[in-house]
Symmetry: D2
Subunit: 287 residues, 4 copies
């Protein structure tokens, strides 16, 4: 079990006539992820709406800001109860036995055009033994073929673009891995959070994107960019790709400043709260 | 707009072999009720499950406690954005135009046996003009015919029992008002929270039960026991009656101590956060 | 696998100024119950609304009828795929491991006042070995203590009334069995359909009420009145008790005539469609 | 009011080892679209699963077929109750007031890359008066800039491809119109059905794709390819684009034959069932 404390501060300058925002920065409420405490602070006196998507459990915060500075703060302590499995016990699920709600994650989406990757996956992965190890092989392929490089992609960059350019950030690694899984009819979805344990060479703590793959009745976590420690991921949102789960979607004339983000583990050996570390087991928080 | 800070401490002694608990003490997330900050504390190292009912938005906390003392603490700051209307503008909705999700609140339930009150409501209320004023007339009738008296009812007391005995507590007032509304095909549901502004004569701050009635496209708040100030109610749960939304349902050998509850308004004239007061308008937080 | 063809004709005389109806006579769509074909006919030119409850999958038909005669016809062919288990393999689920959506079926409801049956079940059933056999023991107890007798109960008759009177119809047997199960914290719900295989001594084919109990991860079928063959039950609705799933709820001045109902199995040995028969196995259609 | 009778026959040759299918050819159940009768026939003895997506109400049919021929037949009579409005009364809804469930339809998707069309829509549509007329202007722009031509696109063709090629079929017209609406933050979704009233020059009756745009609290129908009569559209599915609502998604070695489709209106002047015609009013079936 892991306890993570996180705080986020987002700062904007809103120009007239004001702007609408949709944020997805609240910790999701799931069976394995308990939000022990949380606080939302807004520098403007506006009434936010918070709603939870019934299908994904993503929590969205929507508000209409006045012209002027806007600061959105979110602070939370979240408990994570990981489901661990031995990789050899984690299997692919045939299409005929997928639950209906997993089916939509085998279809192509804006940034994960799996429909045009059929030939590539046939050559690379079709003959591998099915199971967790095949998904690991896909992740390895992405790591071998894409180089992590900041500021090499933008909000229009898709999996196809990343294959061509051979570089990208965590979001691009995730999109490509998802597209490859789906091309094999393995449900895969985009997940967002904070890059707990971020590689210090790659920069300070930041928002993070990773992958969840449906195997053996649960959604297993993969971190294709390899820059962080999955056991410390607090899930904000899941969706088909980044179009579904932007941290912030902005409608109106707004200038954004760099977010301030902090995350750390509240370990306590007596209470058996662990510090996250890289594990060999398959990890899920949604079984 | 109102900001309410509340804290709850529930204390139990759990005997062997342990016990299961289901609590409904989290502030509901609705469009008009924003949980600005909240913190849950447990004295035992157990993993709680928190789940939100997709239909009611009630948030339930479930846990399995070990033998020994158990303290459950919940502290929150909640923002309330009230929808106000002039009573003469608030109408009853004909059955044919009720939304499907309101329909189940015209049927009888465990403690609100509306099916046997047809004759009573025909004589008392059927000829009154329809609308908010008729629902007020029902509330007045309950207040005239029931005397508030502590320790006069228990968990098996229903609306029929209360009509006979002529006394009860907030829960009994609520059940009877709901049963009378439903006997007229007016959807009414049971709501729980804390008795903000509690009448000091009737005792210290405590859990509270009140009524929401579906009128003019929203759920309007009524406080039939008249012991508190509706504008300060933070909603925990809504349901057909107390069977749906107990604060605590316990499975196993447990001794309960009196809960410690505190509630107050965080007013701020500059920021337009008001202190709740008794208003003339019809009030809704779920439109 | 079983195929059932059913037809229902409901006839009413609606007096001025007209009336509203809510019906629950459509076959539910579940994983195990496939509506192969269906047809709804109405003698009045009115636009019905059909909506499916997202939690129960009950399908409701709502319409506003004009004064005059109204005939509602429903004809369907439904496929049933039964999940069968050996009774000794079917277990009770501890409260701590019940899925959230099953929890509400251990609480008392209008006609199933389980909260006042604690002493009775402690004496009769608490010491029996847990599992399917204990639920059978409850069913046997109901059969021993209640005599099937037509026209001995009405819409206000509850489980407590039935214990006292010792007689009732299928609805009363179901309510009592449900109340007893819930008093032991075993989730039980009310189910409606048609009494396939009805005992000819007890009268012609009619609507039927039976029980589903949550065991071993599914809802298992029990027919406490023992008057029909569970393998032939097409499910219309499930709910906490009859208040949730009336075949017809009527608002307005209406005279009802006796319904005309027909049901039979479309067996076909070549295609392996069976004729329903009384089986030893535990049967579920919702696992 | 309109009654439509439709029948669909899909024929496949399944090669070993068999194949899985997901179909979306059932009429959706909505408040305005009533499935009066329907029948599903399968030439193979396989148990289909039918499930309804709780968010979209799309009904999916899933089955695992054996090697050999497979015929899937669907026949239904569907009633349509159109909501009509004068175009000048139909308004755009500001982002801040969109209901949560409409929000996801302003984000880009696989075939509707609205994120890269910002410049185009700024030049063409940003200065037009907001409302139904602006959406009509978008539809006109698509008709002027795309030529209907069979067999000019495939399952990978997106809105960007269609802008470049200047030709396509109904699906491509729909994707492009949706992408343009979303680039203006107007929610738009992809809808499927049958091309009632199909232009005989363009070929026999076939599956059809069209557009629903969220305006004034409802989803209004647009037929950008202009080849059919919207008043006769029976809705099968809605989704973000064709990736969500394929008529048939096939997993395995299968050869498809041309579908056989028939559709006609069951008009009856006495009963006020009309023959669909092209209307001036704005039309919605989901308000």
């Amino acid at each position: 079990m892991v306890r993570i404390e996180l705080s986020i501060e987002l700062r904007y300058d809103v120009a007239p006539p004001g702007a609408d925002f949709v944020f997805n920065i609240h910790g999701a409420h799931t069976r394995c992820q308990i939000v022990q405490s949380e606080e939302l602070t807004l520098s403007q006196q506006v009434l936010p709406q918070i709603y939870t998507d019934p299908a994904t459990h993503n929590r969205y915060l929507r508000l209409s800001a006045q012209p002027g500075p806007l600061t959105v703060g979110y602070h939370a302590v979240v408990q994570l109860h990981h489901h661990l499995a031995r990789p050899q016990d984690v299997h692919e699920v045939p299409v005929a036995r997928l639950p209906p709600e997993a089916l939509s994650y085998i279809y192509p989406s804006r940034y994960c055009q799996s429909d045009v990757l059929a030939r590539l996956v046939m050559g690379e992965f079709a003959l591998l033994p099915q199971g967790y190890s095949r998904v690991l092989a896909i992740q390895d392929w992405v790591r071998r073929n894409v180089r992590f490089e900041s500021n090499t992609s933008d909000t229009s960059t898709s999996a196809l673009d990343t294959i061509q350019s051979g570089r990208g950030v965590c979001r691009d690694f995730a999109h490509l891995m998802i597209a490859l899984c789906r091309a094999l009819s393995i449900p895969a979805r985009f997940a967002t959070g904070i890059d707990y344990g971020a590689d210090p060479v790659l920069g300070p703590t930041d928002f993070h994107a990773y992958v969840e793959v449906y195997l053996s009745g649960g959604w297993y976590i993969f971190d294709p960019s390899g820059t962080a420690i999955p056991m410390g991921f607090v899930r904000f949102g899941t969706g088909r790709d980044a179009a579904d789960v932007s941290f912030a979607t902005i409608f109106g004339p707004v200038q954004s400043q760099a977010p301030r983000i902090a995350v750390h583990a509240l370990a306590d050996p007596l209470l058996r709260w662990e510090v996250p570390y890289r594990r060999e087991e398959a990890i899920s928080t949604d079984v």
